[in-house]
């Protein structure tokens, strides 16, 4: 006999289903008056520090068809590379930037959209700096457990080349699936759930 560890099991995931927008973006889904605004819809105010950027794209299934019932959340550091979180011990993040956003994919075009700022660099576990990146979480009907990926920036070639996470991708041909291409201040990031261009998803 041994002493029991007394651990619990994580609650099993279930798909967010076709009506995740009712729960997480009710105003977007046409349910007005319950909440003043949808959480995570506005990330940036006049006081937020940093370069304003737009991130937009689609989530595509195995036939290349965009998902119109998906929901994305992003989590990122502020312009100085600090997270607005109690678990951030390196300093105080910009109080005018939460770093978290949420967007539904559009019911007609399948496009999601985040108006945010370009994040600063944050350290990997060994202290090396990672390239600027944004953590992305995707849920939808047909996705049984939320998918985690990262968005890197196409105009950060030098930083991307030394990023310790990108370096772990064995099949180098897949690295571009995590890199959003710049068009001025707009970055386009399509997420492919399957196929030759399948996005690298992480077990985090």
């Amino acid at each position: 006999m041994v002493q029991p560890l007394g651990y619990l099991k994580e609650s099993a995931s279930q798909t967010a289903g076709p009506y995740v927008h009712i729960g997480l973006t009710p105003n977007f889904s046409g349910i007005d008056g319950v909440y003043e605004s949808d959480l995570g819809a506005i990330m940036v105010t006049d006081k937020t520090l940093g370069r304003r950027i737009t991130i937009t794209g689609r989530v595509l299934d195995g036939t290349g068809t965009p998902l119109k019932d998906a929901l994305l959340e992003i989590w990122q550091a502020d312009a100085a590379g600090l997270y607005n979180s109690p678990s951030e011990l390196r300093g105080s993040a910009d109080p005018n930037f939460s770093g978290w956003g949420r967007s539904a994919t559009d019911g007609v075009t399948g496009e999601y959209r985040f108006e945010t700022i370009k994040p600063g660099r944050v350290p990997f576990k060994d202290g090396r700096l990672m390239a600027p990146h944004i953590s992305v979480w995707i849920v939808a009907r047909g996705i049984n457990l939320g998918l985690n990926t990262r968005l890197y920036f196409g105009d950060e070639e030098a930083a991307n080349a030394e990023d310790p996470v990108l370096a772990r991708i064995e099949h180098r041909v897949r690295v571009p699936t995590l890199v959003a291409m710049a068009d001025g201040d707009t970055y386009r990031f399509d997420i492919h759930l399957q196929g030759d261009k399948e996005t690298v998803f992480f077990d985090i």
Binding site: A12, T15, W75, Y83, L89, M130, L147, L193, F202, I204
Partner: protein, 249 residues
């Protein structure tokens, strides 16, 4: 966003996820998963600061009726139709510690099994006094509660005759972005749980039973509402005592 005094910063990485306990991505019995499940191996990444941190949601974001689905969409003086219930419980992590300040968002069909959504096609009627969404934040003990009506079961296009058991969708935000979880709560004694292709995506019977809320007679309010107790477990997190400290700590 406001800080919570009861929240001690923790910087350990999360316990690795038991992916044999969760449903796999590809579950052909649930047809939509076939074209929406990644086919390549996930890249394993032990949590960096980007995964172990997460936003704080202060109680100030909550409106008075956010945790009352019977009234939060109803006309003044009216209420949603259906069996009145209280759903309550605790959010814990795998170490059995309460998760304080966790944001819970929930959504559900009305008593007839109909969602308020433009793409919903079930012939059951809308309830003009029921919107179908609510939210709350756990207290210092990880406790939460909300009031709603029991959702009805509904048919859905998958197999020719597939029905969802009565269920409430839950979105849970703990302390780190890697703890993010969406799941569903089922009701004790519902024989339809065991016929549902979405429930059956979960391979382990014990994992399914963990999602079935028990009728809680003790907390049932006489002449008002029955109670169901539903505890939710998020990933645990390692102690940082012997971990390499990040530079600058």
């Amino acid at each position: 966003m406001t800080d919570l005094s009861n929240r001690k910063p923790e910087t350990g990485a999360f316990f690795s996820r038991d992916r044999l306990w969760h449903p796999p991505g590809l579950t052909p019995g649930y047809k939509t998963s076939v074209l929406r499940s990644p086919q390549k191996a996930l890249l394993s990444l032990d949590g960096t600061v980007s995964e172990i941190t997460g936003p704080v949601f202060g109680h100030s974001i909550l409106g008075e009726l956010d945790n009352d689905l019977i009234h939060n969409f109803a006309k003044s003086g009216e209420s949603a139709i259906g069996e009145r219930i209280i759903v309550h419980g605790r959010v814990l992590d795998e170490r059995a510690r309460p998760v304080a300040g966790a944001l819970l968002e929930f959504w559900q069909a009305n008593a007839g099994g109909r969602y308020r959504h433009k793409k919903e096609s079930y012939l059951a009627p809308l309830d003009p006094n029921f919107g179908g969404c609510g939210r709350t934040i756990t207290d210092a003990d990880g406790y939460y509660a909300f009031r709603t009506i029991k959702p009805g079961p509904y048919p859905w296009p998958n197999g020719v005759n597939d029905w969802r058991p009565a269920h409430i969708h839950f979105s849970v935000f703990g302390h780190g972005f890697a703890q993010r979880l969406i799941t569903q709560m089922y009701f004790e004694g519902d024989p339809m749980i065991w016929k549902c292709p979405i429930v059956q995506t979960i391979p382990d019977k014990a994992a399914i039973e963990q999602l079935v809320a028990a009728l809680d007679w003790g907390n049932t309010i006489p002449m008002d509402a029955r109670a169901y107790k539903f505890d939710i477990v998020l990933r645990g997190r390692r102690s940082t005592l012997f971990e390499n400290r990040m530079e600058g700590n």
